[in-house]
Amino acid sequence: MSAVKPDTARTPQLATLPGDDVRQIMWRFADRYDLQMLVQSSRAVARGPVARLVADGARNTHEWTEEKATLLEAYDAAGITSVFIDPEYGGFIEGPKNLAMGLAAFELAWVDGGAATGAMAGHLGLSPIHEKGTADQKAEYMRRFAPAQPGEDRTIERSAFALTEPIPYVGVDTGVLGGKVSVKEWKKGEEPILHVEKRGRFITNMAFANFVSAAVDSGDERIEGSCMIILEANDPGIYDRGTPTKKLVHQLSATSDPVFSLDVPASRIIGGYTVKDGVIIPNYNHGEIIDSVFRRTRVTVGLMTAAKLLSAVEPVIRYQRGRFRGGDSDHPGSPRHELGLQQKEDALHRLVDIWATGEASASLGFAAARLFDELDPMDHRRDEIFKAHGIPEGRKAIRALTEWTDRALEYVRLAARPEEERDGARFQELEANELIQYLVKDALANVLCPAAKLWNTGHGANMMREAVSLMGGYGVTEDCPGFLPQKWMDAQLEATYEGPEAVQRRQLSVTMTSPIFLARFEEWLKELRAIAGLRPGSGACTLASAMDLWLWTLRHLLGARDADGAPLYKGHRQGVTFPMADALCWLLASRYQIMDLIELETVGADNPSLAEALPGFVNFFTDLSHVQAAAAGGEVARICSSLVFGYNRHPSWTTESDRAYSARELTVLENVMPGLCSCATDAFDEDGDAPLKRGPCVRFDGYEPFTLRRAKLDGCLSGSRLAKDAAAQALTEVVVPEALDYPG
């Protein structure tokens, strides 16, 4: 494995924009030709029919038009509709499909987020059935959702997902559902007939959905709790698709506010039910189902915003270079002609930031998608695994899992050690245990999913605004190349639907304190220090120092109290927990970006078609990683400092302090001891009064571990601006195509 030297000569440079062969390696699907083909087919739809619709102004209507409906056929033909379907039901991808869906959504969102949402919404509607449905429900609805197989004469049925209400586990009105289900008719020995009253809000795909997975609460003492239930368009009663939502964004998806008043058999309860003492008990309440659905689909949404950022790079470069061409002062061959706005450092630096953010968010999102692919087989067998290990249901499980958590921690520690230094037999034993593997992966998934959703979309929306700003006035017109203003606005919806930012922060504030996750985090920190030894230009050292600061701060906050003696790290103190969640997202994204860089360098060397280009890509992505690590370090330092010190009361003036000086004294001492003035001292003027602009100063007694870490992190920013300069220089030299490959 080669190393990037600290004095890496900035040649060879980035020659072209990264192509598929680079991305396949970085995002780990170089050996999956099914996924590679999915990327190509999704891309053809995105840059063909989708782009043409956007260019033709189809986004200017709220209604679901015939033009927009043609996209459904394009999705069907390209295999996007059937991505989610297992081969036994007519799909073409074996095994878990989180990465597949992420890639398809990424490609569609490269052009239009609404198209991606519309394509994925059908999967969302089917997800409750896929995750928790009975075998019969899966067989029935998967088959109906799948494209017609040879010899079949039928049309594809579409689905929608009707929740709208807050989800459990997020601390906001948990369990409050607008929809009600009651027993309409229950003849002895027959299936009960239920009546569902449900109003949906902001429901995607409702313009054409044939069936809906709806969340409802019990409105009848003969039904326990809540559930999700399948509603069909031809059920008796009202299946009103509602009026189109007047969205300002994502107009290529069909969204409306439907009304349902339907009678359905109890067999439609997703996951089935049992009857006990005359009460229908759903096997899964709506919270259990939604949790298992959203923890996957949110990752896909995060990848959509990542795609927008990366898609902005090419049109911005082309705009920058061509900005002055054709003007009176333009002379072909001159720097003004060749570089245009790229003569200006600011324009380049800002584009570097956008690209670096796009890389980091894609790395985080695809890492999360891959993790869910690993977790899925175990997650679907969770109850079975728990039962096999004697883990009871409900709250008793928490106690029973304590012992297994300790073993999981042991596994995490062993896994991070070199093979020759660990107890191999013990490691094998722990690795072979499904429950341990489940706990380890689940702990990480519970962090990565909200992190990808929160950071990619929230910070991504901010950075899309940066991209728009780089296009000048062009950036707020429909003619802006690459549809950048539309993408900017769309990003705001992506930050909102499937759980807005506060929901993700709330979830992170709980899951990021998991001992298993924190153990993993500690091992990553060590790993990054080792990486920094080989690749000091990658920002790994900066990132490790930032992670160290965050970890110390978290542990401090978990036990600290504010100036009034109230504990700091509590669920309701979102001023503490939420910023820490934000800070963690920066760290995670940067970490996965560096890991993707290493993957490219190591695996890319085996790809003959990359042989010539690889050093340039590695150099450039190294610089981007460094830039992003420095940005993450800055955010983490700011947040941690404000939380560690911000809840202490600011000191008042006191003349009794052993560190109080008169201003004149201090001036004299400064001559003897240069720098003394910058120390934490209180100073008084000649009259003994407190000067307006000096002090009283805080003291750092007891905070030395923090200040040392903070100082180290500041120092670790060394080289990060040089990396940005180098990346900026590369942007002036990289060859871009003559035109976008879609009519944007």
Binding site: A15, Y33, M37, S41, A78, V735, E738
Partner: protein, 269 residues
Amino acid sequence: MSAGFHIAVCGSLVPDPLQTLEPVDTPAGPGLKSEMMLPAVLDPWAAHALYEAAHLAKNTGDSKVWLVSLGPKARLQQLMMNIAQKVPFELVALDGPAGGFSDAYEVAAALAGAVEKIDGLDRPRLLLFGGRSSASRDAGVTLQMVGERLGITDQFLAVDKLTVQDDGSLRVLERVEGGVYQASVCEGPPAVLAWSTGELPEPPNNPQVGMQNMRAIMPALQQAQPAAVSAAGITYRNVEVPRQRRDTKIVKDVPAEEIAREIVEWLRS
């Protein structure tokens, strides 16, 4: 004897036409700057030939299509992720350069050799398809030479339409000057048909077709034989991109009539 055709389509990758192409000198002769890094597509002329071949095979029972490609193996694999989803075919891969500066004579020899070795190919039923030209360099002679090497003398080198007539003969329309066609009839295969644009649109991607194709394509790529193709002995005095013809104009909201009018004006000028 079966009425079906055995259609071998010769075609390989070229840089995506939207890319900025810049000729450079390399130790092996002229080349394109960063050529190995540029996104590639199936040569548009060859692509027309492939789609026509698949269409013909679909409508003529007991027919089969092979795509014979000479190019860097790893690059061909990338190309297949897209092309393999378009239409059913089997790949015959030759691992070698796909640049525009190889000697057409050597390329033809390699392609002809590969066609000869196709297992199960019924030579009397062979239709040799390919592009009349290439987007990488317009030599326009390769397919003709492949045909010669295979002993096929019925050659049509600017085909836009092929009709299989009731008696099994082939009616061929070839593009000639002034927007008119030359109509020819030959008794049947074997024949060489070098396609202009044909009449078919690019088929949409179908991953089911792709998954089916890839079962044979991946082994074919792994078993691709190296092809010794070069430009040895050829001296290029000057190499340049025909920049005037590569002006790209992106338009939207322009009616087809207006676009047609502009094209006519451009042609007249």
